[in-house]
């Protein structure tokens, strides 16, 4: 069964597809600009030693996101 969850809940090595953003204003704009639009595939690469931020592969680039931002991204686990 397909499951909608938040981007920060995924384990390294897993992939998901963006379904929506719950962020508003500046954060929303920033997330959209780095490529997190509905339909985008995201791969979780690894956590930093302290557990936050986490590196994600988004549209050909590896981008680190803080938990406070990734927890606003709704994804469908693949």
């Amino acid at each position: 069964m397909q499951m909608v969850t938040y981007l920060n809940c995924l384990a390294p090595g897993s992939s998901a597809e963006v379904v929506g953003l719950q962020a508003t204003g500046f954060t929303r704009r920033r997330l959209l600009d780095i490529g997190l639009v509905p339909g985008t595939r995201v791969e979780v690469i690894r956590h930093s030693p302290s557990g936050d931020p986490t590196a994600y592969k988004i549209r050909g680039a590896i981008i680190a996101l803080r938990r406070e931002d990734s927890m606003q991204v709704l994804v469908l686990k693949l």
């Binding site: 204003g25 704009r29 490529g35 549209r59």
Partner: protein, 263 residues
Amino acid sequence: MGLTRASSGLNALRESFISLNASSFLIALAGNPNCGKSTVFNALTGLKQHTGNWPGKTVTLARGRYSYRGLDFTLVDLPGTYSLLASSVEEQIARQFICFAHPDVVIVVVDATCLERNLNLVLQVLETTPRVVVCLNLMDEARRKKMLIDVPLLSQELGLPVVPTVARDGEGLEKLKEIVAAIAAGILHPAPKTVRYNQAVEAAVITLEKQLQPLLNGHLNARWVALRLLEGELSIRQELEQHLGLALPQNVIQLKTKKGVSA
């Protein structure tokens, strides 16, 4: 390293309007970080502006000149950005230059190996001005990665001229200069495809656009300003006041809250 207002280029922006040679065409060079924008700048101008593989090295505006078939061009290298919309200092500089310095042509340099990521900026730039040429750079790397790009199709989809280049080796730059000259001289008129949003947004845009048109008086694309206002972006109001001396009447702003649309 802190960026003060003076060093961030907002003042330099003004100066660059004033000291411009009247017979020279003003060309802006925009692009994502790390797409070879400064290499294109150096290759066109013959200057040796520092290039290096780290982000944020172009924070102030570098200027250079070149001539092509007797015409004089002033090229401004904008800071590398992924977007014109968020409010980092780099993005503000790039956006304000494109919107308020009225460049005759904007060259958007894109990384051919990472088109998906780079086209976002192209779409944002063509919402502000139709006088755009896409410089599809790093074609050698794309070839090495066995990537095939259908340039005519890309050009057709965007409604813009697209010139494949390898700036490092000078490949494609003559063609780029030719297209830039043609757009600047008004021989070539790119007709970019307009990005359409959903019905509610479009309806609000049209209402706002009608009110904005007479106020902006052709200085800025009314549709673009309408979209920014709908996004609830406050910096655009401030910029209109600063650069055009235009204080938007309160009723324009009220429409935003009444419609309650967010883009």
